[in-house]
Point group: C2
Chain length 219, copies 2
């Protein structure tokens, strides 16, 4: 059995699949499943049972031979692996198209990501109320982020200003950034950065159609 804390490099794909398992386990829970086998889980994700077992084995042995995994238990194990067994305070910067959609995006809150601060530089937006949150002036970014103890930020600003804001939020102590701007950002090595690029998947689709690439499971 692998120790939960074994310092082994876990692949990005494994983590992404844990997210999928988590979502499916939540569903199984609602459907009142007691247990689930790697076979069943694999079927739902269009993966192989071995893949599922291997992914989980990096973190421990959570199953029972002959029986499978206890749905509740596995779900909560994955929660703690992914770090979503707690509440995250998140600031959202840029209350434009994407930004305002994200404020209302329920999946985030479901998994413990709570947007508690909104920032913008547009005077018409500052002071306005989105889902109970008042939009702050981006000038107050530093103090408000520090005060609220926020370490995670969603960036939904135009590409032209994204880097400046990144520099600022990093100074304010943020260590995780989810970036929606179509630009490559620079962050210090201590800061985690992920990019959400919605065109990418459309481009993959058009590639697949044009080249008659065999349809495959999606990421």
């Amino acid at each position: 059995m692998a120790s939960p804390l074994a310092r082994k490099r876990i692949s990005e794909s494994t983590i992404h699949r844990l997210s999928l398992y988590y979502r499916t386990l939540s569903l199984l829970e609602k459907e009142n499943y007691e247990t689930v086998s790697s076979k069943e889980l694999a079927k739902r994700e269009k993966l192989t049972p071995a893949q599922v077992r291997k992914d989980l084995s990096f973190f421990g042995s959570f199953g029972t031979r002959g029986l499978g995994y206890n749905v509740n238990e596995l779900k909560s194990k994955i929660e703690s692996i992914l770090g979503i067994n707690r509440d995250w305070k998140v600031a959202l910067i840029g209350v434009g198209n994407i930004g305002s959609a994200l404020v209302s995006y329920k999946e985030f809150a479901k998994q413990g990501f709570h947007i508690i601060k909104l920032f913008d530089n547009d005077q018409r937006k500052i002071g306005s109320n989105h889902k109970g949150i008042i939009v702050s002036d981006i000038k107050n970014l530093d103090s408000e982020i520090k005060e609220a103890g926020i370490t995670m930020v969603i960036l939904a600003v135009p590409a032209t200003v994204a880097q400046y804001i990144v520099d600022d939020v990093v100074k304010a102590g943020v260590t995780a950034i989810l970036n929606f701007a179509p630009i490559n950002l620079r962050v210090p090595p201590t800061v985690h950065l992920r990019n959400e690029n919605m065109s990418m998947e459309l481009e993959y689709l058009s590639f697949a159609m044009v080249n008659n690439h065999a349809p495959k499971k999606s990421k």
Copy 2:
């Protein structure tokens, strides 16, 4: 040199990186770069030069030894590989939070993805105007999609109804679907499906923070 039409399986990662190269080439074009080396391109994407050259080599030899790649030319090569050297007519289904943000999302149009039809089942939304497009009743999905010759659809509806709509759009002749609903959809093998799961990247961030996973380049 690999023939552009060699039937070799191209990896998903390679295609995603082409998207990145494309974006950066557009930028370089604006910055009036004539040529770019694999080294420079790699630096901007935080990849290795060999990776860049290998990716491109699957599709042909586009560079000049001693000089690098012509920015304009490479950009247009990638455009045709990705199938974005043409206009795609896209229908967007579900004009809620996410949906209405996507209508205004400029990156799509920039790359040739034109949302020309909106559908919803909410009487209050049907008939309303979003960026010049009138929201249609989802009841007319089949006829309107066929009539407009749409083959690509963005799905931004609640998870509970997503599968029904997928079945309908497939019947209407759609062969590519970008799904934002947090659910695993079933499509026939002839239909391309990609999922956009915005929670996944946040979960990756929280995993990285909690496990002190060395920050790495983002996808």
